[in-house]
């Protein structure tokens, strides 16, 4: 009698727990890592592909899985790298001075084909058909998409000039 009762109890227990787990695995299922969404929201979203990924979503996935470093995104720069590293709880070695590149149009050679203007995901280029185009340097993230689109070869990426208010003291060189 005792054996029958305990067998029954254990079977019931097993069946109910298994059922609960099965239900939970379906209804409480997590689609991917929530950190991917958080990181994707931080990225500039230009889908420029400079990190080597097809888009920002894929870059965020790779960053979470650890196969891509947080400082892989040139448009995001140091600020983005620091916030991503903080979110993922990893340390960054950002001693290397990062130079911000921005697009510069040689306006005298611009034919006004509007290709760069159409390629810019940030609306950082102004211009119209058969008119000279120019880059709004404060908005340009240096994503390089326009340089690929320019048939004239008059659009180049150049390091952003240091301004007195953006210049920074170097780290003291001491023994």
């Amino acid at each position: 009698m005792m054996i029958v009762l305990s067998l029954l109890a254990l079977t019931l227990l097993g069946a109910s727990l298994g059922g609960a787990l099965g239900w939970a695995s379906k209804t409480l299922k997590v689609e991917g890592d929530p950190r991917v969404d958080e990181i994707e929201a931080m990225l500039p979203g230009g889908q420029c592909g400079q990190c080597g990924e097809p888009g920002c979503r894929q870059a965020a996935e790779k960053m979470v899985s650890g196969s891509l470093s947080p400082n892989c995104c040139p448009p995001g720069g140091k600020g983005l790298a620091a916030s991503v590293a903080e979110l993922l709880g990893i340390s960054l070695n950002d001693d290397g001075e990062q130079v911000t590149m921005i697009a510069v149009i040689d306006e005298s050679n611009c034919s006004g084909c509007t290709r760069c203007f159409k390629a810019c995901p940030f609306d950082a280029i102004v211009g119209a058909s058969k008119q000279m185009h120019t880059v709004i340097s404060q908005v340009c993230t240096g994503c390089n998409l326009c340089a690929k689109a320019c048939p004239q070869g008059c659009l180049t990426m150049q390091p952003q000039a240091v301004q007195p208010h953006t210049w920074n003291w170097p780290k003291p060189q001491v023994a």
Partner: protein, 492 residues
Amino acid sequence: MFLSARPFAGGIHPKGFKELTEDKYIDRLDSPDHLYLNLQQRNGAKLVSLVEVGETVFKGQLLAKGSSDMAVPLHSPVNGKLEAIKEVTSPHPAGLKTSCMVLSNNGDPRWGEDHRPCDFRQLTPEQIIQKVLDAGIVGLGGAAFPTGVKLRLARQAKVHTLLINGGECEPYLTCDDRLMREQAAEIVSGVQMMLKALGAQQAIIAVEDNKGEAIAMMADAIAELPQISLKSVPSLYPMGSERHLIKAVTGEMVPPGQLSTKLGILVNNVATARAVFHAVRFSRPLIERVITVSGAAVEEPGNLVVPIGTLVSQLIAQRGGLKVDAARLVAGGPMMGQALPSPFVPTDKSIGGVLALTESELRQEQSHACVRCGSCVEACPMGLMPFQMAAYSRVSDWPQAQHFGLDNCLLCGACSYVCPSKIPLVQYFQHARGNLNAQRSMRQKSAHARELTQARQLRLAKEAEAKKAAKAAKASKRKRPARRRAASGGEE
């Protein structure tokens, strides 16, 4: 007992070197041939020139202005001509070039427009503030924050006390001291105008006790004004810091990360008060200021009234030139001033001193490892641990440096001054702060970029939809006309 006598915790007593210049009358600089007015301000704001190259300008004419009140307008300090707008080395430690207006001077000292002296009692506070804004006045103590903006914000914050900073705690500098001795009445008039603009009840002029004559002159000037009082404060560096002056005068501490208006107090420099007097009384813009030219390498140290935009080399030449080789040129005081890249840079509104220092006046360059002596902690007027912040800055751990109070650091240099290992603490802090600022602005830029792409995608989607709708509308409407056009095409 000694500790209780201190007006605030920390601080140092650097050797003053004020005797070099404090007993000489302020001289006027011989009219310079050329002036260089910077179109880019220290906060990054850019000004747009209102005159064409080649145009004649008169003394006091508005030459350039910016898009907001934070961009302070520039006026012509001389009668002459706008020769060019070109890139000129700026008084910045890295010697970066900025766009400058180059003016030639015809030597005529008269003002272009004469204004009838104006009685400030008949002006509304807003009119006084507007006059201060139009005159392009900035804080002449060194921070160069637009005074009009400061007055307006303080008025909104319902400030009750105006504190006038006659601290001048930096060694060598005596320009405020001399100004108080020679122009006490003008300073006091400026204070009265600011009081009216603010709607504040009282003004306190605080002067360090090593300036006995200045205190006497100021006491005379305020004798019949019950609203204004004078307070002598102990000389201790950094007494000229807003927070520390407030602590010394009122005993109250401004909470870290807050402004002094939180306590209902606004602090302005004595030289700023005088500039306000000229702006309100005579509608004269800020086109010149007093600059101390000192240091052991200068032949005859002294104070000069200098038009904004004069080359540093001309200031030194007027004081007899250099008698020995200058190891370093500094704009401002030796504690917080910045090294100048060359003598051929123009002065601006924020420079109150030009020092030519000899090798013996400079600190040894060779630094050693930190010995954990704690001197910097004792010297820090903000109660921070400089050695710890420097250690984190050295390994680029900005968040930890921030945790130890990097944002509250005044960059006053008291810690570097006392450090027995000669560690360049302040440079570490400057470096760390610069990096944090760069990160912050990158974050803002990237957030802005995200907004822009989202807006663009929305716009493209809308455009595509509109196109589709238009096409559909055309297609449904156009059955017959389309055929007609096809027929006419066929006839041709």
